[in-house]
Symmetry: C2
Subunit: 372 residues, 2 copies
Amino acid sequence: MREPFEFTILKEDSETWARVGVIRTPHGEIPTPVFAPVGTQATVKALTPKELEELGVTLILANTYHIYLRPGPEVIAELGGLHRFMAWPRPIMTDSGGFQIYSLESLRRFTEEGVVFRSHLDGSMHLLTPEKAIEIQELLGADFITCLDECPPPLERDYVKEATERTHRWAERCLKAHRRTDQALFGIIQGGIFPDLRRESARFIASLGFDGFSIGGLSVGEPKEKTWEMLEVVIPVLPRDKPRHLLGVGAPEDFFEGISRGIDIFDCVLPTRMGRTGTLFTWQGKINITNAQYARDPNPVDPTCGCYTCRNFSRAYLRHLFKAEEILAPILATIHNVYFMVNLVKRIRQSILEGNFALLREEFMASYQRRL
Amino acid sequence: MREPFEFTILKEDSETWARVGVIRTPHGEIPTPVFAPVGTQATVKALTPKELEELGVTLILANTYHIYLRPGPEVIAELGGLHRFMAWPRPIMTDSGGFQIYSLESLRRFTEEGVVFRSHLDGSMHLLTPEKAIEIQELLGADFITCLDECPPPLERDYVKEATERTHRWAERCLKAHRRTDQALFGIIQGGIFPDLRRESARFIASLGFDGFSIGGLSVGEPKEKTWEMLEVVIPVLPRDKPRHLLGVGAPEDFFEGISRGIDIFDCVLPTRMGRTGTLFTWQGKINITNAQYARDPNPVDPTCGCYTCRNFSRAYLRHLFKAEEILAPILATIHNVYFMVNLVKRIRQSILEGNFALLREEFMASYQRRL
């Protein structure tokens, strides 16, 4: 990566493609592998930035699409940029908005110039071009920004080929448009579930000289095995010395699969979204805390967990909060889930450093699968 | 107050009935005058207990009615009592449930035995007697508990007289029923807005030997001047050496009025409830943060405030969070409002100690009334 960024690989696993590193950014260091919670609308839902710091979060991902529509990038730039606006002093990554717009389905149309879409908030029409995606992300000022891409349905080969090739042309336009030197620009690799298209996409995007690589369009409906198969095609093509990000993937079991195939960065709404509905991650699998069986349960959510929620509150109290629809319910659940994800990845990191990655993986999967 | 409680008066104001003290309880000391946020369902809405501690909160009030219906006092007792259940290590006061049941209107009927009411949650029928109110509060285990009372419409003399006399008979039954020695029992004074009934109620309740006194049935619709007039009738009748609590009153201007008439404890949902709708208290009066004028305002809610919200976030960010309906909106607003109330009362306390109470009052009212 170019100055002021630096990616240092501290250790590579002897049996897998897993590696441990540190990314230096203008807002501090990120030990990798890392899990980034998602702050869709310039806030990680239900958490204060102080709580995020206490949870050991070192990177968050914010959604350009949502922030572009509200409050708007000019407002945020005027107020000192995204870090200042949301009072998050550590690194931020922004996506390009492509995936959110793709998800609007009937409300958008992709052309060579860019994508025309209708706002889900007020129905207004917008044109997002690769140049505009970069301009918006420069106004927001995240540490890592990403190219505009088209994320196609992974199974339709002709569509995937067309979208992937357009994503390549857009990647060149994004590189050309990018001005700020205090932001690292990530290229996005597409190609659906077709090994030849994935390989070609990885080769092309790698050839352009990006600071890092986001692998997109996976885990959007196709079987998980396909995701891992695609990583095995893509990763060997990418330069060793640049960080690799798997877009939108981050269930506990995915960390082991992704990291063993060379992924450095994960982002996912899973811990925050599931927390809000009372689904909590434990070393023994997921539990739904609203179930009647927890009504008088004095134990913490996960007895082995060191988070604020587990150190202070019983399952019975959490269930009460969800039943009473109290705001503290999603707060405590999100604290636990984010801590769980961040610390699971930290433990994986430590196990790679100590040469115990395979052992930890075996232990975790044996324990977790009991309820998976 | 009896052991293990102790109420020490440190200073009395020379010009008003204001006084500064400390109440020692089994869960720590409470400097008085004090403002207690309300934790209706065993949680102060939108705040973690950790945040409450950091805000300098030393006492909270929980609503017996709500907790009795859900999750139930037996569940809480089984889980170690209310302090343990909600992980709040400092003092708690519980009300008797009388006021909440009175507010159910058509769903309740008061008789000599007690009050029969229909749950607002599932329509089930319940009988709450004075003895049962004490039993429930002993199961919950708060530091301060209160007698069951009937809070009548303040203007209907015949009704008020009947309800006040019944409240007196219930007070005797509550005293008799109370067993736990680690809880202080507060008597409730009623009497509507009739000076003779108020005086009689204060005399009678004071004669029974309670550990403290709650003044109920005020600020429930009648003009605020009547509240202060009633305090002037009641306070001289109460023993000097026991704490006095004004039930459910706690707007900023009320603190000055109440404290100058000898009130030691306030509780009110105002800062939490208003926070959730975007109304924020400042030294210059209330503001509604959702107003368009704050869309690009880089200033904190109150530039003179030292709370976490004001130290880190702009009005523009808070407005964005409310517009985007983010959970962080009520969290940050509640942090600010509770800090504002707690610290205003702390400043009043300090001013009494320093002999500047009148000056602070004048300063505050001149500043606050500009927008009141």
